[in-house]
Symmetry: C2
Subunit: 319 residues, 2 copies
């Protein structure tokens, strides 16, 4: 897949300094994509800031970043943020407000701040609370590009090629500011789409957050049963795929579920209603009703797969 979907006629994206808070899979892949896929123009210093120095040291060793700063050191943070074109927040969403509050005193008026959080309404509220009138510097974003692996070792320059990146511009966002963020992501090979934060949260509650919750719940249910070991010993390929996402980060998904609880509960309640209908059909041994639903689902799932395979968003897919 490497390079195949890279949009070569996008203007090279130039910047002087990018500061990434959280140099893991998402932040590290952005850094690598901009450095390795984006021509040779411009200065391009990438500074990493992490919760621990271990992660930024590893990123330095791997050449993913040029320098690092310490979050709890005012002088270090001030130097890192001075003259930055961009700040990317790539940490669990509950850290958005404390991070922005920490950054705000050192933020240049010309610096554009964006994020990579899986939820957006809460991120917007956190940004408004932390940035006040400087909210116009913030463009909420969400690259749809998780992987099984995490950490800076898993970062890939091709991670975003053909993937969707959702931006949720605010009323205060200047078009030129949004366009700069969009250009940054397009330079990685991503497809940039925009949505309102509420719409974003409803869509991802449905196609991402709910499946994660349902998958965690199935493993939990089996663990709770008296014959758990026997059940696991006979679990096969259907279980394997259904529960792959139950191996995801508990911290990240805790934050997502809490941050997006309004939309997630709506989707969960709608899902529970569908299940109740299927339960009634099973209890009544109403095979025709079951087959109707199963056949409709199969057609939709098969068409989705075909469209996906035919589109640009194929390959190793995101969470």
């Amino acid at each position: 897949m490497k390079g195949a979907l890279y949009v070569t006629d996008v203007a090279a994206f130039s910047f002087d300094k990018l500061v990434i808070f959280g140099v893991g899979l998402i932040g590290g892949s952005l850094a690598r994509a901009l450095r390795e896929r984006n021509g040779t123009e411009g200065a391009r210093t990438v500074i990493g800031v992490g919760r621990s120095s271990a992660s930024t040291e590893r990123a330095l060793e791997l050449g993913v970043i040029d320098g690092s700063a310490a979050l709890n050191d005012d002088a270090s943070l001030r130097e890192a943020l001075s003259g930055a074109d961009f700040v990317l927040l790539a940490a669990p969403v509950a850290q958005t407000q404390p991070l922005l509050e920490r950054i705000a005193p050192f933020l240049d008026p010309a610096t554009i701040v964006t994020d990579a959080g899986s939820t957006k309404s809460d991120v917007v509220a956190a940004a408004r609370a932390a940035l006040g009138a400087r909210i116009s510097q913030f463009v909420p974003g969400h690259p749809i590009a998780g992987r099984e692996a995490s950490g800076v070792e898993a970062a890939l320059p091709e991670l975003y090629v053909g993937r969707n990146v959702v931006l949720c511009p605010l009323p205060e966002s200047a078009p030129a500011t949004v366009e700069r963020v969009a250009a940054m992501w397009r330079a990685t090979g991503a497809l940039v789409r925009d949505m309102a934060p509420e719409q974003h949260d409803r869509v991802f509650a449905s196609v991402s957050h709910l499946p994660h919750l349902l998958s965690f719940a199935l493993v939990e249910q089996i663990l709770n049963s008296p014959d758990a070991a026997l059940k696991f010993s006979f679990a096969a390929g259907g279980f394997r795929d259904f529960t792959r996402i139950a191996a995801s980060s508990p911290e990240m998904w805790r934050d997502v579920c809490v941050a997006n609880r309004v939309a997630l509960l709506d989707e969960l309640d709608a899902y529970t209603a569908v299940l109740a209908g299927l339960r009634a059909a099973i209890e009544a041994a109403d095979g025709a009703a079951l087959e109707t639903v199963f056949a409709r689902s199969r057609v939709a799932r098969t068409e989705w797969q075909e469209q996906r395979a035919g589109g640009v968003a194929n390959g190793d897919a995101s969470k």
Copy 2:
């Protein structure tokens, strides 16, 4: 994986005639395994019987079977079953009783009948109703080896290597009869395990039937929503894996849900209770409660994957 896990010190399994009702993935793979993996001893005629002549003709063309018989032709069926060592039923489970009723008048007293159905209590009841006192000729079985693909074209001689095959011997089953069926499956490279039918149905309701139902339900829920197209357009890798099994056969899963409805409803109700607990935690923004469940699930899912990778049941996995 080919051959790597084949238990070479198992005595070659010899038979004169095997009659398979339903020469698709499961029946065709048994035929191919016994013919291609099982040494060169013995006569080994395999006769296929299908709902349509198209499927048996294709199986003949592919060399999977040596001959075919027509289900609705007494003379053809009598000839097929005459002198058969084994009969395998490999059709959707709701067809078990009509098939056995059709077969019974032509069944030699020495013929052993087994099946490959995904549910077992209903199959036992159907077999008792159809076979009466000849129930001692019947050994219920379930090879855990579905694949995405179906049909005789998808049949593989290696399909059962390292896979579990569950047998559910009845009180009437003579040990030598059960052992003959076990030897047949072991000759394909499978691991033969035995369980009571009720236990089988409870285990597979949990690790197979419920996940299929939940996966179909998620696609159905999205289809029911007003912004279905938008949601599908942002669905990514988590959705892909969670819903892979929603592309499964509606007819097969209709039959499974109805046949195993008692155990499936028990599992569904237990699952719904787990979901209700998670719902309450989300509504209360109780991140600690969510993280506890998610972390426990992740550990269990990760250990399951590791044990599976370390065991013999790896490779392209079953449904």
